[in-house]
Structure formats: structure tokens, C-alpha cells
């Protein structure tokens, strides 16, 4: 259970988010004004901040900049009606950790919240990622499963790496498009699905599961775990 501060002035959106997060087992505080939210974020410690870009009192961007200037490093998820391309970059530059354009599905929000609460395993320290009998060597860029080397295309390698860094977490299609492809639009063709099925065909179909209505999750096969 994580404590989350939600700063959002649209009442209905805030209610839906708060209720959903609450049902998912998180503890949510809600603030309407940017300045009130800032004060609370400075006074108390939270695991995650969900902040709307446009707020009364203090603008979301400035809020996060001020927090970062005070060394408050709590992860921040920006929400925004400004669906533009520039706004996302601005949000991330201001110190946000993720950016979600409205309108969004709640499952998308939840997946991102969980991803931020469980920061991915950092890159620097490890040279290998392991899951069950699957092993990825990041330096030699090789993947082995049960002692057998698996030949992956570069994109498949990146996709698997992204999943392995978030074991047992729901990863949405949009998160994969952004994180693996760096695509920030919604392609009509489900290129994620086709790549996932290629990947499954190579590493075995048991590891990457489809979570209906949400996305994918990589999990060790219990038989091998």
C-alpha cells in the first residue's frame, strides 16, 4: 500500500482516480489547489504525486520545479489535457517522471502508478537480468533460456529488457510504445502485439502474459521458478 497525493482540480476526474486507486489498495490524499498541494507535498512524505498540469493557485509545472528545487524527489506523474507533443517534453523536463494525456483509461493510469511506485531496476549496476531460467546479458546482448541461446532482433531485445526490468508488473501497450519504440502516437496497427507474439515464439509462450484490457506482464513460470 502506497500513499499517493493527487492534485487535481477537476472534481469528477479526481473522484474517479481516487476511488480507483483506493480500490487498488492505495492511500490517496486529494488536493484541489496547486499551492495547497505544494505545501502538503513539502510537509508530508508521499510515495507518489499525481499532478494535473493546470491548477488554480500554482501551475503544475512550477509546482514540480519548486519541489525538485527543494530536493523533494518523490516520483511525479503528470496528468494533462494539453495533449500536445511539446507539453509532454516540458513536463518531463520540469522534473516529472511520467506524463499521461487526458483522456486516459484508468487501467493505463494504474499501470503507470504501479510502475512509478516500483521504480525499474536501475541500469548501471547489473550486467544481467534474470527471470526463472531466462537470463539476459546486457553487455554481450545475449539471451539464454535453460542454457540455450535465443537469437533476438534488436527491437525484440529492447522489448524483453523493458519487461524484465518490470517483472510481475502490468505494462500497457502505450507504455511499451513510449518506452521501447519512443512512439508518442497511437498506431492503428497493433505493432506491440505482433512483436510480443514474435518474442513469445522465441523465448517460450509461458513468460509474457496478456492482461486483458490492460496490457502485458512478464512472470516466471512456476514450474521453473
Amino acid at each position: 500500500m502506497a500513499s499517493i497525493l493527487l492534485i487535481e482540480d477537476e472534481r469528477e476526474t479526481a473522484e474517479i482516480i481516487a476511488r480507483g486507486l483506493d480500490e487498488s489498495g492505495h492511500n490517496v490524499r486529494h488536493e484541489v489547489r496547486g499551492d495547497d498541494g505544494f505545501n502538503l507535498a513539502v510537509e508530508q512524505s508521499f510515495d507518489l504525486l499525481i499532478i494535473d498540469r493546470m491548477l488554480p493557485g500554482l501551475d503544475g509545472l512550477k509546482l514540480v520545479q519548486s519541489l525538485r528545487a527543494r530536493d523533494v524527489s518523490t516520483p511525479v506523474l503528470f496528468l494533462s489535457n494539453l495533449g500536445g507533443l511539446n507539453e509532454r517534453v516540458e513536463g518531463l523536463n520540469a522534473g516529472g517522471d511520467d506524463y499521461l494525456g487526458k483522456p486516459f483509461g484508468f487501467t493505463e493510469l494504474l499501470a503507470r502508478v504501479n510502475a512509478l511506485l516500483r521504480r525499474p531496476l536501475s541500469t548501471g549496476e547489473q550486467s544481467t537480468l534474470k527471470l526463472g531460467d531466462l537470463e539476459m546479458n546486457l553487455i554481450r546482448r545475449r539471451v539464454m533460456r535453460a542454457g540455450r541461446e535465443i537469437d533476438l532482433l534488436p527491437r525484440e531485445f529492447t522489448l524483453l529488457e523493458y519487461l524484465l526490468r518490470r517483472p510481475e508488473q502490468v505494462v500497457t501497450r502505450t507504455m511499451l510504445l513510449e518506452g521501447v519504440w519512443d512512439y508518442h502516437f497511437d498506431p492503428r496497427t497493433n505493432i506491440v502485439e505482433t512483436h510480443i507474439s514474435r518474442l513469445r515464439a522465441k523465448i517460450g509462450s509461458d513468460l509474457v502474459q496478456t492482461i486483458r484490457g490492460s496490457g502485458y506482464m512478464i512472470r516466471a513460470n512456476r514450474a521453473h521458478a
Partner: protein
Amino acid sequence: MQIAPTLKSASFRLAAAYAALFTISVVVLAAVIYFLVTGLADNGFRSRIRGEANTLHNEFETGGIQRLLRAITERQHDRLAGGLDYTLVDRSGKHLFGSVTVQSCSAGWVSFKGPPDGDEPPGQLEELRVLKTPLPGGYCLMIGDDAGKIRVFGKLILRSFGWGLLLSLTFAVLGGVFLSSNFLKRVEAMNRTAEAIIEGDMKRRIPRRAVSDDLDRLAATFNRMLDRITTLMDSLRHISNDVAHDLRTPLGRLRHFLEDAGRTAGTPEEYQLAIDKALSEVDGILDTFGAILRIAQIESGTRRAGFRSLRLSDLVQDICDSYEPSFEDAGKMLVRQIDPSIPICGDRELLVQSAANLLENALTHTPAGAKVVVELHLKGDFIELTVSDNGNGVPEGERARIFERFYRVEGSRTVAGNGLGLSIVEGVAELHSGWVTALDNNPGLRVAIRLPAAA
């Protein structure tokens, strides 16, 4: 012709400035010529008389006064020296020859006003300039000539310059008035066109001339700008119509689902199904809005500020990599002919989306077994990215229209899509100062984006 605006016009002021400059240069030229010519004439005058005095002095040295007198008499008689006046006076002041009288005979020049000898303007005295030469024995030789000729010559020069200047200034002013009134008429035509357009007559254009000068080119540019504005206004009008129409349809469907579910659904599964259907309908509507917003953002041109230099070849390869499995799954072939390391200065996300849209179109609008070719070549000073297929193609008449917003080729309406994909492609091409065309691939469709090559 109205004089006041003519005089105020920029072209007339320019003509007047040129006339003033011309006047100054003519005056300077006239002064220089005047002084040069009169100075030269004066020198000639003096040296001629001095030479004559030397000759006569020699005559005196060799043959005394008698020989000198004879020489003067011969000269006067034959007019050998070109009409010089000679006077010779002896020690006592008695005139041996000629009639000029002086106080003393010191060597040098002296000027007189003498009686007219016929070549002066009426009523003026002759201006005589005389060189006095004292000779041994108290004699005084004086040789003179009419110096008025030089002055007359100078005046003639000044007068001809004056007349010439007056005449050319008249021409300059008349020409300036004519040219600027001509220019003004054309500016006025532009002004009237602009006024008419402000009044709402968007069809008005500036009249063109047969001769293509800079003003005419300006008019042409102006007209092109007006065409562009008209197109934009038309498209804006179309868009609001199309948005209304294209959103009414899915909203109508949505209403229908919900009404139907409310009436007939009984089990939770049936409700779930209705909700899922409604959600996917709403997602479609949201996608359409997203695309409209994105087009608006692209057209605003603000994205240019974020242009970066990119490797277009890598970008296109990468998109092909991403889509290749989808082509394989659909039983279609994706062939690449991509020249390596072509750079571009542009917006990565938008270029990616454009290329993806083209690939998706080729993927969704071709029959199974189709072959899709992606080409990227550097052709001179532009980059050409083409996606061509051997599918059913688009009829000639519709080919240009596929870039219009919400336009969907008849028969493709059953396939998912909002009719905005190619509009985005066109917008992105134009954002990068390029353009996009749809061609017949014989059979199939060939869409080509041309972008200026990075400098």
C-alpha cells in the same frame, strides 16, 4: 491624375532625389568645364601675344626701329597675327604706330575698355588686354587683343549647360510624375483588392500585367497568398462540417448501442459486451479528436522550434522494422530500398508518425499477397520518401483528394480509420517545407513525400 498623392509617392520622391543629384553633378561638371576651358583659352591668348612680342623684339634687335615698324605695318596690313592690335610709342610718348595710350611702359599686362571693333554685343565696349614690352632706346611696344571673346565663350558654355539641365530636369520631373502615377495606379489596384477582400469578396485578385516586373511578381505573390488563405478558410469551413458529420455518425452508433443494451441486455455478460462496444466507439471518437488537435498543432508551425538534425534513413529503417512483423502476419511483403545515412533537420515524432501512417495505409488498404515498397533516396536537393503498393490503387479523380481531411476512398469506409492519416502526412510534409503527392503505381498507389535535403 491626382498630383498630391503622386508627389507624396515613394517613386516620385525617388525620382526627385535623382533629379537633385543629377542637378548637382551637372553644376559641378559645368563649373569644371568652364574653368578648364576659359583657363586654357586665357593661356593660349597670353602665349600667343607673348610669342608675338618676342618675335617683334628680335626684329628690333636685328634691324632697329625701322625694321620693327616695317614688321608691324606688314602684320597689320596682312592681318598675319590674327587681328592683334599693335602700338609703338617712342621715348617722348609719340605714337609711331597704333593708338593705345599708357602711363608708363613697365613690362606686363594691362586691360582697357576700348571702342567696339564689331564683334561685341551691341552697346558694350571692347575689352582689350595689352602686353607692354619696353625696348632699348625708350621705345614701348604694346600688343593687345580683344579678351571679351574668352568671356563670351565661357558664357556660351554655361548657357548651354543651363539649357541642357533645364531640359533634362523637365523630362525627369515629367517622367517621375508619369512613372509614379503609373506605379501609384498599380499600388492603388492592390489597395482596392485588399479593401474588397476586407469587405468580404474573397474571390478578388490583383490584376496582373503582361510584363513580369518586380511589382507584378509582388502581385503574383500576393495573389498566391490570397489563394492560400481562401483554401485555408474553405478547409476550415469544410472541417467544421466534416467534424460535425464524422462525429455524429459514431455518436449516433454509440447512442444506438446504449439504447439497445438498455432495452435488451439482461445478464452481466450482455451489459459488459455493450459497455465494451461503447468504449471502443468512444475511443474511436477520442482518436479522431486527437488527430484533429494534432493536425491543428502541426499547421500552427510551432513545432518547427523543436527541429533537430536526425538520421532519416535510420528512422525509416526503424519504422520498417516495427511494421515488418505486421506485414508478414497479414501475408504481405515489405520491401525496403533505403539509401543509408540521409540526414534531415526535422521533428522526429511527426516524421515517425507520417511514415507509420503511410505504412499502415499500405497495410490496411491492400489485398493479401500485396507487395509494399518503401524507398528513401536523396535526389539532388531534396529527399524522396515513397511508399508504393501493387494493390487496387485509387481512381485518378480521387487521388488528389485523399489528403483532404476525413476524405475516404469509396470502398475503404469499411476499414477502420478516420480519414485523417494522410492529412497528418501532408501537414508534416508542409511543416518541413516539403510536399506530398499520390501517384498511380500501375497497379496500386504510390505516395511520395519530398522534403528539402538538410543543408
